[in-house]
Symmetry: D2
Subunit: 309 residues, 4 copies
């Protein structure tokens, strides 16, 4: 029985890269938060303090900024893929690389009714995300292969009717009243894994997929008469997979942002779903995966750098 | 020389009120954070623990939720005014009341290209604000009078060109290079004080004023070729006062959200304003007031409850 | 009636300075967040974009870091004073300077029971603060004079008994039950203004004052049987002024961090002040000033850079 | 190829429970943030909106507060175990339960040099954590079994010397200078998994383990002359396993909180590791596991509810 080094990883987190495209008077902005994490043959750094296999996190940062300009890419999935492949293919001790990216949305300012060429306001709270893992050799001919996950987080959505919750299991601690018409709100975190195959198959439809999945999620939330957040999430995930065939699975994490109808009757005021208290904590948290039953194994696709290792 | 009680104030902060209007199938949502603060004859509570003049903060909260339904109002300025007048007029020991409100924006979801009746997504980060103070007797005929401040905060705006900074004062610690073409970004906090007169003069054009001021601020930021953030702020304020005659003054607080051009030349990559690092801290902070030179004294208009007293 | 520039101010906020004293093997750490704000003759920067009177915020930052080493100071009040005097005395267009500082506490790690020479863990959440304003000429012989405010914020303190709340004013919205034994908790923000005179009078007892005031506040909160948070705050302020004669006034801002006794009776479980829900929002907010009745006018002492102008 | 429900989970997150023990005049406080998450036979809720197997998250909340008083427990690991076992054993459709708890530290106020009976101040930023998973039948005789993870997060620790970083791998993007004496700081997140056996084996030494592991981590960080954060983390983990034999493994996640020596030479000021800028982002992030080579498989021990599913 010995004490040994187990799984480990290191990188540079939260590089705040802003890329302006200004080849024409109408500029474009891409506003990102980029994190890198590498796995590989780094035992000596841990056990004897030998850094000879360790590419500094500072070098990873420089690469992130350099590639923002030096490489061609049109989506965060592609940018992450270029970065992750570089670390695996060009840095000898690296066995796998994870690149996670957040993209903050901006919209053009209107001046006299027209979109301005180079001024924007931030639009949130929703944030687009991507997570790319490249590990090698794991592909055909022992080439590295990639797993790509797109996503959206903090998509805060609310419906003021069209939601019920009743018929639930009762135990001695159940005091909740059934509801036939309640407010339903969440701040959705959704991540979708693209089907793989070898890297060459990637068709770079990531931006279109993002638009399709986001719209499908939102439409389904709005349109489905809900009997529970579970049912709504499953329907949203199912609709996303149907709308976007290149997805293998989608994972949804939805805090139930409770809006409690305020008791105004004691003041002689009727409250038919008109005045609510939006509570902070605690909150329900509902999480579900919807997937193709023949989806390829996820491999390291879900191995986020914000986890413990 | 004695030790005495000085200025004091108390209230209930951050009541998270959500008001749904559902008289027709097309619902409306008003999502608010409401804070109240009262001044008055509360010495005994402090000096001898006698609460007989103290309306509990819980009662203030109940009033906030009750009035959300029970009173008619169409803007946060009006809602704040109704609440503040109530506390001054109906609660005997109260001399003045301050109500501050944040309004979170939601936009309707599109389903099959049409706006949905009862589903929205949150839109931010910008937040509309109002601050109403009622003190009395201070108006004509010893009636209470009111001061009303509208505002917007966290309006994050960026321009990728059209901004210079040079010709500045030099001292022994000046190492900054002059810039002839830089990125300029801020997260604007703007608050505008409406001209007063007695309460009856309020014309309830607050929603229109909000739309006009916001658009004017944004257009001016975009259109003005900037020599400094100071110049931009002054022009924004001036344009707002010109566009909205009912304003007495506007105050602007603008963190300079620094975007530093990243040094890629050392890697043989040209960077002509294309790749930036968005830094967190420190940040420049520029604050300015633009006002009519004959504006009435501000009285307690700027006395925010988030200050110390 | 013209539109004019009103009050304005600019500076560099949140410089994260860490100063290590390492003249002996036993190092000392001073961990700060420093913000500067200048007022003066900056009209031309606003109205015509002329920067010739504007010392860049970057130069202010350089000065903050340079003075951390180059000047002798032993408290954040003194450091702020040195910086603020410099800006007023050495930078011609500056009429007044405000320096606000937060100091984060660290405590030495124990190794084999002994304090380590150069390793610490952060200790919070409480943070010491200082705010120094220098304006000139405003002192004797037209020398600049200074106002100094010390403080503590986020001092989170709780007592599980020894607090009542009853006998309060009732209105139609009062449903709160009186309490004869409740939990009382707050996250205190306290700021104390030192008595002035001309600058030479400062006796640099600021560190001792901090220790005395903090301990007095904490002891009074613990010892006083409370009839209301108002009473507790007043007693705390009064005790601080008595313990520390160089104070002119103290301002206290105390959110009432509500802990609601949880209703367990419905499950047949007795709950005599043993299980609480710590709620987030809304919260009561109680603010009070305690002062000497002959205290000199506060001048710009309370003019925080985080306000609007 | 069909679309199906994959892994799913639901619960109530962030119940802010405060438990006061007041059987004697010397009260004790236990301040917690408790989250529950259940897995089981909930397909019908997702696919057809049938809630008959779903225990409401509200009922989970009631149970959390009820058990705070109704059950005997002396550590957060034990409290989590009692809760998780209840959900698995007493709620029929539940196959496994996860309970995660944060414990906020308070220390007694000193009054006249003595610890006060019922008043405390919060002490942070560090937070103790526990994560308990019960799944069944998975133990001997098809009884449910448990996995228990203790931890600490936001342990912010800094050493002003005794840290080097050089001899690292160089690539074309490497511009970092080697350092022979640098500041090293992190905000540590450490989690340790206890060795299992069946539930009866738990010896409830969790509080002692917490104290031992925390002290061991801190002492090792201070004492080891560091050649890299990797080396320091490994040594810390190894020391923890040696000091606390009941641990199977420990996982460490350490942001490298960069403190950059400030360039004062350009102002003629020497800076020998005395003045630093504490930067926010980006930051290095180093993560490592240290384990016994014969440690039992971790099962669901690391399956945090804050992950996606």
């Amino acid at each position: 029985m010995a004490i040994v080094l187990g799984p480990n990883r290191y990188g540079k987190a939260e590089n705040r890269v802003v890329r302006i495209h200004r080849d024409t008077p109408r500029h474009e902005i891409v506003d990102l938060n980029v994190s890198t994490a590498l796995r590989g043959r780094f035992e000596a750094a841990h056990t004897v303090g030998d850094q000879s296999a360790v590419l500094p996190t500072d070098s990873q940062k420089q690469t992130v900024y350099a590639y923002a300009k030096d490489k061609a890419w049109t989506s965060i999935e592609e940018y992450g893929l270029v970065l992750a492949r570089h670390f695996v293919e060009d840095v000898e001790p690296v066995d796998s690389a994870r690149v996670e990216i957040e993209q903050f949305a901006w919209e053009r300012v209107l001046v006299d009714g027209s979109e301005h060429d180079h001024t924007w306001v931030r639009r949130g709270p929703e944030v687009r995300t991507a997570a790319v893992t490249v590990a090698g050799p794991a592909g055909p001919d022992d080439a590295p292969r990639a797993w790509i996950v797109g996503g959206i987080k903090d998509l805060t959505i609310l419906k003021s009717t069209g939601s019920e919750f009743h018929g639930f299991l009762q135990d001695p601690y159940t005091v909740l009243e059934p509801a036939s018409d309640r407010m339903m709100a969440t701040s959705l975190d959704a991540r979708w894994r693209f089907s793989g195959g070898d890297d060459a198959d990637w068709d770079a439809e990531w931006n279109a997929a993002y638009a399709t999945v986001r719209q499908t999620l939102v439409e389904t939330f709005a349109s489905l008469h809900s009997l529970a957040l579970q049912q709504t999430l499953y329907a949203m995930g199912r609709a996303a997979l149907e709308a976007c065939p290149q997805l293998a699975e989608i994972r949804l994490s939805a805090p139930n942002k409770h809006h409690f109808a305020y008791d105004l009757e004691r003041f002689g005021i009727e409250n038919k779903g008109e005045v609510f208290h939006a509570d902070d904590r605690p909150y329900g948290l509902i999480q579900a995966t919807v997937m193709h039953d023949d989806a390829e194994d996820a491999g390291p696709a879900w191995d986020s750098y914000t986890g413990l290792v």
